[in-house]
């Protein structure tokens, strides 16, 4: 369960806000909830490692929006998402809550699976373009060979 939850929360966090909002609006899921924490815009400090494997250092900050909701059934959903879209944070927290209820199948099919596909397509496109720029070396034989 935790692994699955980590996976959908991560996907929601990095999804494009327009993709998420479009999918959510298309589905027209009617659900009522209350705020545990209103959307709040802030940042996190990204850290790297010196020389790839060494000690940590700070690179710079990334904008993040977070919020928490409680469904009428009592299920709690959280979100920490990239960017400054309060609406994206809200929908993500609601999805996080719904995915823990019996509505999970519906949300999974209509939101999570399409977002996964968008992510995979985007990554595959980058990898396939990068692959096309791979250098093929060929060696020129110089002088006389035996």
């Amino acid at each position: 369960m935790i692994e699955k939850r980590k996976s959908w929360m991560s996907l929601l966090a990095i999804s494009d806000q327009n993709d998420l909002l479009n999918l959510w609006d298309q589905k027209k899921i009617k659900i009522s909830y209350e705020w545990l924490r209103q959307p709040e815009i802030g940042s996190i400090m990204a850290q790297g490692k010196m020389g790839v494997t060494g000690d940590k250092f700070n690179i710079g900050e990334v904008t993040i929006t977070r919020c928490s909701v409680k469904l009428d059934c009592g299920t709690i959903g959280h979100s920490y998402v990239q960017g400054r879209s309060k609406r994206k944070a809200e929908i993500s927290a609601v999805c996080d809550a719904l995915l823990q209820t019996k509505m999970s199948k519906e949300v999974n099919e209509n939101i999570i699976i399409p977002l996964e596909k968008i992510k995979k397509d985007k990554r595959d496109k980058i990898l396939s373009k990068a692959e096309a720029t791979k250098v093929d070396f060929f060696t020129l034989v110089r002088g006389e060979s035996d």
Binding site: M9, G42, I44, Q47, G51, V62, T63, Y80
Partner: protein, 359 residues
């Protein structure tokens, strides 16, 4: 005598109003949208995010638009906004071995696992103006190729195996955060790397070039340069586990430099390291050269008095917002200061004149 004056409000308002009008330019030309900036002036956006020290493409694009393309002004705007944000937390350290590489090259080894991938680069172009771009509706499409989705190992890790490369050990130390604590000298490598990563590209470029020309001579090979997408993991306190909260582009550069060895260590290669937000390879490369030059003390090398070896000089001057703030403030009225200078020089001259008469 000097009497303090007030005024200029109307002039300032009108100046700003004219600046806004000029920023918009000819109204018959379409207004530039933020999407156009994030999509088509990507490297400018990346520079503003890296030196603004805040990864947010939309805000960087807005800053570029607002500043009329003056990138240092844009960086200033982003830095100022950054200070208003609540800091939620620190991320887990990013493992760049998991990077989804757009570009990955090595100048030290030809055949490397994963191969040399040039990516979307200006290298090998002829630097001739491309008049085809004058035609507006070009939408070029580049080729694709079957790929294997495998982790791309770092090139220098192969040298690590033979112990030819100095190992970078993780001692689990918490780094100083220069946005929270002022830097005092001598400082740590962590503080230097943070300062360099948000430092001015032009300043770093000039300093790195100086090391190549012989000031703190330190011949560097590019062991590896990679650009790509990484995910940032964060511990969520409410839940007690980690999730990925963001996806960003980073440029990483590792240089290989010789090291003579010391009493306790045999000769081996050492690293210079650069890691920067966005597709910013000139800066990441410069950062790696400067990082290596600044490590002279730790590696027991000679101090030759070169600027690139002087951490106080480098770190105190690499921040373009600090620099431009101090530089540009001298444009603002200094009437009182100057009045005192003026009176002083008049007095000295009058004294000098009297002395001449007496002779």
């Amino acid at each position: 005598m000097y009497v303090a004056v007030k005024g200029g409000e109307k002039a300032i308002d009108n100046a700003h109003s004219w600046m806004s009008e000029i920023r918009r330019g000819d109204p018959s030309v379409p207004n530039v949208s933020l999407n156009q900036i994030t999509e088509q002036l990507t490297l400018g956006v990346d520079r503003v995010m890296s030196e603004g020290s805040l990864y947010d493409k939309d805000l960087a694009a807005l800053a570029i638009k607002q500043s009329r393309g003056d990138l240092i002004e844009a960086i200033f705007l982003l830095r100022a906004y950054r200070t208003t944000l609540k800091r939620f937390s620190y991320s887990k350290p990013i493992d760049t071995a998991n990077m989804l590489c757009l570009r990955r090259i090595s100048a030290t080894f030809k055949d490397i696992p994963g191969g040399q991938k040039l990516g979307p680069t200006f290298d090998y172009t002829h630097r001739l103006l491309d008049f085809k771009l004058l035609a507006e509706n070009e939408t070029p499409l580049s080729p694709t190729q079957q790929f294997e989705n495998k982790k791309v190992p770092h090139v220098l890790s192969f040298l690590n195996q033979e112990d030819l490369m100095q190992k970078e050990k993780d001692n689990n130390l918490d780094p100083i955060d220069i946005t929270r604590e002022p830097i005092s000298f001598p400082t740590s490598r962590a503080a230097r790397l943070q300062a360099l990563s948000r430092g001015d590209e032009g300043f770093l470029l000039g300093l790195a070039y100086s090391t190549q020309r012989g000031y703190a001579r330190n011949h560097a090979f590019v062991g590896e340069l990679r650009i790509g997408i990484v995910e940032i993991e964060l511990n969520i306190p409410e839940l007690g586990f980690d999730i990925n909260v963001a996806e960003i582009i980073l440029t990483e550069c590792e240089t290989v430099n010789q090291f003579q060895g010391s009493k306790i260590e045999p000769p081996q290669f050492t690293r210079g390291y650069g890691l920067v937000f966005g597709q910013t390879e000139r800066k990441a490369l410069a950062m790696a050269l400067i990082d290596r030059a600044l490590r002279w003390k730790e590696l027991g090398e000679d101090y030759s008095g070169a600027p690139a070896q002087d951490e106080e000089f480098v770190i105190s001057h690499c921040d373009n917002i600090q620099a431009t703030g101090f530089l540009e403030h001298i444009k603002l009225p200094h009437y009182v200061d100057f009045q005192s200078e003026l009176e002083l020089i008049r007095k000295i001259r009058a004294d000098a004149k009297r002395n001449v008469k007496r002779l």
